[in-house]
Amino acid sequence: MTLQALLQVLASGLLMGLIYALIAVGLSLIFGLMDVVNFAHGEFLMTAMYAAFGLWLLTTLDPILLAPLVTAFLFAFGALAYMGVVRHAMRVDANVGMVQIFATFGLAILIQGVAQYFFTPDYRSITGTWLGGRTVEFAGIFLPLPQIVGGLVSVAAFGGLYLLMSRTDFGKALEATREDQGAVALVGIDRNRVFTLGWGLGAALVGLAGAVMATFYYIHPQVGGPFALIAYVTVALGGFGSVFGALAAGLIVGLVEALTAMIFPPALKSIGVYSLYLAVVFIRPSGLFGRL
């Protein structure tokens, strides 16, 4: 293995890691807010990709221009998913976690069915985009433009999220609600409203990821699965609820995955990421940056 090959794999892994982080952070946000693992997260990603694809068919605009629309659509989608499904699953106190898993699992299958119904199970792709197929070469290292832009969008999203969490009333309400759900009611914060917006925001982030990915990835009803699994591991590795844990963990997952595939048989590459997760939580039971 040459140094150049190693650098190439590291750079590609890093870019993929930024995308993983962007996919995962919405999940982490929702979890931190209300202790819910959304089993339909992969389907949210898939919905975003189909939304980008559908809008592209309708408007023939470049998918990068459509990203804000997709993000807004997913915001509404997430808020609706909370109001229509998750809110009801939280009514009971007993085994609330399992009911949510169950309800969101049902939602996931439903979304897959709807996608297959409207778009058929065929594999779709957005072609002829500004970024598509362009590659930047630097000292023998190739970086595809769509992924570079995806990485930049991810970094910007994390920056925006930081500002949102630290500078706005909504961010403070989010933070307060995750600290103490009971107490926020006393200071006049409508818990339900914060949850709705929180789900909207979480879905909007994965929507952004989906819009970016639609520029370079294929789209079909099952596309979310592998990414969802990586997102769960990423979120847990970074620490549930920790936004910047998700960023760090996403980068680590991208790098470790790429390196494992380089050193071990590529079919086993996920084992590297999985083992890392186990090693981390066995030492730090709440992930890298999580609070217990």
């Binding site: 009971v92 085994n95 169950f102 769960y232 591991v233 549930f240 048989p265 217990l292």
Partner: protein, 340 residues
């Protein structure tokens, strides 16, 4: 598992009323089992018999999961690992070495229980979703390893040879009834073990662990050991279920016995019917499995995705309509039996 540990502690309030309730539960169970055992007399259709076998199998598997996930509160989403070990141990021993599946079943069970203990040691330090994700990840590692392990067939899987009908090899070419009774027997055994455990010292510990781990620990309950015991029992029966599945289908490959889908299928009936209850998993399986099969068989052929829409929608509706489990429909007191 010594007898001593399964006897109810002297301190427990063993009143006459309680004993009478237990007797009544056993009596009801006997009636239900007898009624189910008579089903093959009514259901002659092979396809429906197949649905019944799967329902009973998932009832038994979900009950096994329930021992750890429901009673002990450790939400494992990686039980496909134990299912796969049971299926693979039995298939390798039978197909490669000609060892009876009955023996392979026990080997698989013991292997799984041992693995559950080995994994439980580090994993039970983890709480909530960290634990659940760890179980997913471990099962995925198992899946990848089996996928790439040529000795057990790798991706090609293991085909059971055609054999004459026999209880010794658990092979029945067209007759589903023997599989039905095997699955029913497995369910009864797991149900009865759960019944015994519910009222044993373990049962009390687990309820204490589930309700409040810190308090239970401070009260001197051996939280860790009781979790380990739950994991081992649960893994053992899950592996027996896997062994049964291998004999039933007569073909296994990693994708068809070890994927995450199975882990979810063990948990879902319990959640649907009522988690941590004696009859919840069976009730959940009795609804979920026929629903899965029938939507696919009678609507799936079109490829339109409508069957998925209805299946997913119904799961959601059920989960939202009765979040505490469907069993609560049958209960007079909504609090259930967990009194503290």
């Amino acid at each position: 598992m010594s007898d001593a540990t399964l006897v109810a502690p002297a301190a427990a309030p063993v009143t006459d009323a309680f004993a009478a309730k237990r007797r009544q539960q056993l009596f009801t169970a006997g009636l239900i089992f007898a009624a189910v055992a008579a089903l093959p007399l009514l259901v002659k259709d092979v396809y429906l018999q197949n649905v019944l076998v799967l329902t009973l199998m998932f009832a038994a598997l979900s009950q096994s999961w329930n021992i750890l996930g429901g009673y002990c509160g450790q939400i494992s989403l990686g039980h496909a690992l134990y299912f796969g070990i049971g299926a693979y141990a039995t298939s390798v021993l039978f197909v490669t070495y000609g060892v009876s599946p009955w023996f392979g079943m026990v080997v698989g069970g013991i292997l799984s229980a041992a693995l559950a203990l080995a994994l439980g040691y580090p994993c039970f330090r983890l709480k909530g979703h960290y634990f659940s994700i760890a179980t997913i990840v471990i099962a995925e590692i198992g899946l990848l390893l089996v996928h790439n392990w040529d000795f057990v067939g790798g991706a090609l899987g293991i085909q059971w040879p055609f054999s004459p009908d026999s209880w010794a090899t658990l092979q029945f070419a067209r007759n589903k009834v023997p599989y039905f009774y095997f699955a029913l027997g497995l369910f009864i055994v797991v149900w009865f073990v759960t019944f015994l455990i519910e009222d044993s010292r373990w049962g009390y510990w687990w309820r204490a662990v589930k309700d409040n781990p810190e308090a239970a620990e401070s009260l001197g309950v051996e939280v860790f050991q009781s979790k380990m015991a739950a994991a081992a029992v649960s893994a053992f029966f899950t592996a027996v279920g896997g062994a049964f599945y291998a004999a039933f289908v007569a073909y296994i490959d990693p994708e068809s016995v070890m994927t995450f889908r199975f882990s979810l299928l063990f948990a879902l009936p319990a959640v649907l019917g009522g988690i941590g209850t004696l009859w919840g998993p069976a009730l959940g399986a009795a609804i979920l499995i026929p629903l899965t099969e029938v939507t696919r068989s009678y609507m799936g052929g079109s490829g339109s995705g409508l069957d998925l829409i209805i299946y997913g929608g119904l799961i959601m509706v059920v989960a939202l309509a009765k979040p505490e489990g469907l069993l609560s429909l049958f209960r007079r007191s909504p609090q259930g039996r967990a009194q503290s």
